[in-house]
Point group: C2
């Protein structure tokens, strides 16, 4: 069912764990034309996949590039986000999965140039191609996931709600955030620390002026059932006396420039070096640095700026200022004026800079652009491998901004710097199944949006989707309007919707762990389940979450409700906050449902059960043994509940399953 093809002499990415022998025949489905692979799409084919990207679950009609990019404006025309996920699934008359294992740039023209042509162009002629077929979409995904190895398992508490902000800048502010949640009885399990907890943005340091009592803060928060989650950045500040910098220089652990000197880039701390995450020794060294925070009681991290982001390189800045001097002397006309503006606006993440530094990878010197898409993956692997050494019996929370398939074994992802836009609620929904296909199960978007200003209705509607996402976090940028759950008028509404997350936890955790341990999907497009239903196949604003339920959030401002499509008869559940206020069986077809801001609706599939806990203000308080069963089921129908200690990384599915039967 899985065929592997090798072209040229590809670099090993460690994406695939157990490689089948390479085939010598021509790959099926595809034509080859120079450095491109071509597939002629049927009119009805859906092309799923590509993990973290803009647009629909069906990727037809645009060009995407696998090229990890720090881009804070996610538009319909955006071609690359932070991850590079070269997996697609064609679903139609023919059904097959395709994975291109190559760390360089890949361009997927999916019916953009020619509406019936899928054309994949590889920058590098050395790559491995996997074709997976012979089953349903679910089968193909499972086989692919078996190939790339098991998905990362977060601790159970990481399924609680988290509050973030760039930045909570002091111990005092963190304590205030915690207090506001606790005094308002809005559940919370974690508070995120963005770059300002560090001393001048130096990884593995604490700003002791703002956080003089950091260790005590960690402890006090734990007492309140709240975990602190600090950020770690991809660049290490150049500063004499700073241990990470000095050790890195001494041991040659940083990426080099053309002359063999440590490569200098500007990122948050100012001038930095990049640890060579691809080099085994450097990776082990960088991973061990997380101990600094683990020792302070920290149990989770997020890895950022690891595309890697480059604000400027030293060399480029010098060149720019030389050129600016020329412009200064010129009498600028409109063309030279725009040249001048472009010169300055293209300093950051300039392709030239990505071609000007080097890694040591599996013993060889290799230019960065050839392995660009591995940096974030290997940074997170660095942490993941360290956690296995340092905390062998504990799951540590870890998610990353940049990624490549393979990284899914070491951490989840968040979908980066989105915006407080209504369209980004829907983008959040659409991205989930694509990420799941590529192994990224523990993932989510910044609820309420990172950039731009949020409104109460936007955040409430987004929360009503976010409660179904494994990673449920509210995060926002410096300078934007506050969007914590207590920041708006109707705190009751926030309490209700976030509270519902905690009632859903036994179900959500069960479905997540089953998907992770069985290499299945947590969030599925309707077309996976009803491939013969033309309308179901095109639904881009509903999802199946696990085996029992379908969701259909409202994502339009001022909407009093929305139309929902039911491919089959389902049981409709309405929640006013945490409480079920309506249950009814709806026939297959389209239904318009009024859904006020403070309400959540979901749909239970026939023969399925939904266990609900009674809730709690953090995950620990949720009682897995006091479950109320809702369902569209008859006596004797059952649900397989998963539970474990929430901490151990070594879990066996069967040992933790328990069958609940409707009596």
């Amino acid at each position: 069912m899985i065929k592997r093809y090798v072209f040229g002499t590809p670099l090993e990415t460690d994406a695939v764990l157990n490689k089948p022998a390479a085939c010598r025949d021509k790959p099926p489905y595809l034509g080859k034309c120079e450095n491109a692979l071509i597939y002629k799409m049927d009119e009805e084919d859906i092309v799923y996949g590509l993990g973290e990207n803009v647009r629909g679950m069906n990727k037809r009609g645009w060009i995407y590039e696998s090229n990890c990019t720090d881009d804070p404006v996610h538009l319909e025309e955006t071609k690359s986000l932070y991850g590079a996920h070269n997996f697609i699934l064609v679903s139609g008359e023919k059904q097959f999965g395709l994975f291109l294992d190559t760390p360089g740039k890949v361009v997927f023209d999916i019916g953009y140039t020619n509406s019936s042509q899928l054309k994949i162009t590889l920058e590098d002629g050395d790559y491995e191609l996997y074709i997976i077929d012979g089953g349903t979409p679910d089968d193909i995904i499972t086989w692919f996931r078996e190939l790339i190895g098991p998905s990362y398992l977060p601790p159970k508490w990481a399924f609680g709600f988290g509050q973030s902000r760039w930045s909570y800048a002091s111990s005092k502010e963190v304590r205030q955030v915690a207090a506001r949640y606790r005094e308002n009885h809005i559940p919370l399990d974690s508070i995120y620390l963005d770059i300002d907890y560090m001393e001048r943005y130096k990884d593995f340091t604490i700003d002791r002026e703002a956080f003089p009592d950091f260790e005590q803060l960690v402890e006090d928060m734990k007492q309140q059932g709240i975990h602190l989650i600090p950020i770690i950045d991809g660049g290490v500040k150049i500063e004499d006396g700073y241990d990470v910098y000095e050790e890195g220089v001494k041991n040659g652990f940083f990426c080099k420039d053309e002359d063999g000197d440590d490569f200098v880039v500007g990122v948050w701390p100012g001038k930095c070096h990049f640890p060579d995450m691809l080099d085994e020794k450097a990776r082990a060294w960088f991973g061990d640095k997380y101990k600094f925070l683990l020792d302070k009681g920290i149990e989770g991290f997020w890895n950022d700026m690891n595309e890697p982001a480059i604000f400027y390189s030293e060399k480029r800045l010098k060149k720019v200022f030389e050129k600016l001097e020329e412009y200064r002397k010129m009498n600028l006309d409109v063309n030279t004026f725009f040249e001048f503006q472009d010169l300055v606006s293209t300093i950051s993440k300039n392709p030239e800079d990505y071609r000007s530094f080097y890694h040591t990878y599996k013993g060889k010197r290799i230019r960065h652009d050839k392995v660009h898409n591995l940096f974030g993956y290997f940074m997170t692997r660095s942490a993941g491998e360290a956690f296995e050494r340092l905390e062998p019996d504990k799951r540590i929370l870890m998610f990353s901004r940049a990624s490549y398939i393979g990284m899914h074994r070491y951490g989840g992802i968040w979908t980066g710097d989105n915006k407080s836009w209504w369209s980004h609620i829907l983008l959040n929904l659409k991205m989930m199944p694509s990420l799941n296909m590529c192994g990224f199960l523990y993932s989510g978007a910044d609820i309420g949006g990172f950039g731009a200003d949020a409104t109460q209705d936007l955040v409430l509607r987004w929360m009503a989707l976010g409660i179904f996402m494994p990673l449920m976090r509210d995060h926002s940028a410096r300078g934007t309007r506050r969007q914590e759950a207590y920041a708006f008028e109707d705190i009751e509404a926030f309490r209700g919707i976030i509270g519902l997350r905690y009632r859903l936890l036994p179900y959500l955790y069960s479905e997540f762990m089953k998907a992770a341990l069985k290499n299945g999907m947590y969030a599925r497009p309707l077309g996976f389940v009803w491939p013969e239903d033309r309308i179901a196949r095109q639904v881009e604003d509903q999802l199946l979450i696990g085996e029992s339920i379908m969701i259909a959030p409202v994502y339009e401002q001022n909407a009093v409700g929305r139309t929902v499509y039911l491919p089959e008869e389902m049981k409709f559940l309405r929640f006013h906050g945490q409480e079920v206020t309506e249950q009814s069986v709806l026939p297959a077809g389209h239904h318009f449902l009024e859904i006020p801001l403070e309400e959540v609706v979901l749909f239970i599939r026939k023969g399925c059960l939904l266990p609900l806990a009674s809730g709690g203000e953090n995950v620990e308080q949720v009682d897995w043994n006091q479950l109320k069963l809702y369902g569209f089921a008859e006596k004797g129908d059952s649900y397989e509940l998963y539970d474990d200690d929430g901490v151990s990384p070594h879990v066996i599915l069967e040992e933790n399953l328990r069958r609940i039967v409707l009596k």
Copy 2:
């Protein structure tokens, strides 16, 4: 029904033609708090209006600023586009219209800060406030429109389809575009000339290298039934020997800087002066310049860059380079690096520049920012008044980018530099009724999107909406993918949909002219007609076009169809291209309809008729006397058809109406 309130000593904008006497009592509905007006919204209130702006027909949940802005990226978070239209209509338990007549900046916080509060903040304490109430939304609009005077009437040929591009750069290219349309039998009435037809972007010049035979080109195109529509920009190039520049300087017709010298800005031609459009003499002089092109057979224009756009001012550029010199000498850290980038990225349309030049308005010197929102309006007025002098018996096509209420008497607008985004199809739809309310009936968006790259399906879906817009034009930017109707694979589909426009023309022109001459709406939100229907009130993706029909275009990629809401029983018509292929009566409620790319659907209201012509390849070919009647009607039901010579500006509604009765 209309009350006028005067605060301070407002500047006259000439927006309102017949002012009622000012009231001395306090305005109803509103509270006043310093320089702000406050209204407490009911939960069910819809706030319509604000003309050209992003987001919904219901403007609740965001902050908008009336501040004409050249911004080519129209996002959910955008606060100002090119126009300043200070009219809103509150529709709920209370129903009233509100117009703030002030040429300065106005901020509308419509439930953003506080979800139930509408707060309008005025930069200038001198303004006139109009409150219009006592009727239905349609009544309120009609009374408001009577207040501000009749809408601009374009020639009938301007209801044909137009093809544009930045730019068709030579006579040869224009001839090729025309040939491709004619040989493919895709209807076309006009080709637009963007800035490259001019000699180095100088208004009222012709680039004789690229267009050596301009006059012959105009003539040859006319022979083919195609009008050429050149662009006119807001800035006049500084160049010795250039007549417009020299006359302007000699007569003091340009805006002045603080020292009384002609103000220097950089726009397309490089260094320019702004004609003082607010000064009566300068305005008459500038308007007369259009004669240069009228004399060459030109019958239509579009006015651009008249916010006015400023790429840079001479003074600002000097300051920036001085500051850059400082940065060059510094060792940039990350904060100073971003400062440095910001310095360069904020050169264009810098608020400081708008505070540094002066107009002579009604005999007084006045700083630009105080009257900023009038520039585009008065530029178009300059043309409109000139046309009345130069071509008193002819309607000349005119539409503008920047505008203010009042300008609707002199021209239409296009909605500026949108993008080839699916979301901008819907934005196009949502903006139409808001523009109509403010008097702008002849308007439309760039079909297919101006910026970014289009796909065939996007352009087809957009066309299927665009055929219902008075201004129907395909336009795209330099460097983007070609999106002419013959540029994609399925030319037949484009021929069919554009062809349908020409079959619809008698209806669309009738409804447009009736709306213009009766001060009514051409495109209405469903809430106007079914105010008691909660679902109809919140529909943001359907429109009523005229009295007979409702439209519901598809605006999502890869969608096989869409859900349509019918507030009442309607007759559904499906067109495969130009041909009606299905007719059926649908009951009230939600319906999912499959709508392939090459099809258009519409819905006829009960008791209404839709006359269809047999089509044509330009407007002139459409036979108004050979109409086929479709309808959801009984024998004896009738439709009032409007027709005229399509040219005369002096038309009397009643003289041109003809009743068609179903036999």
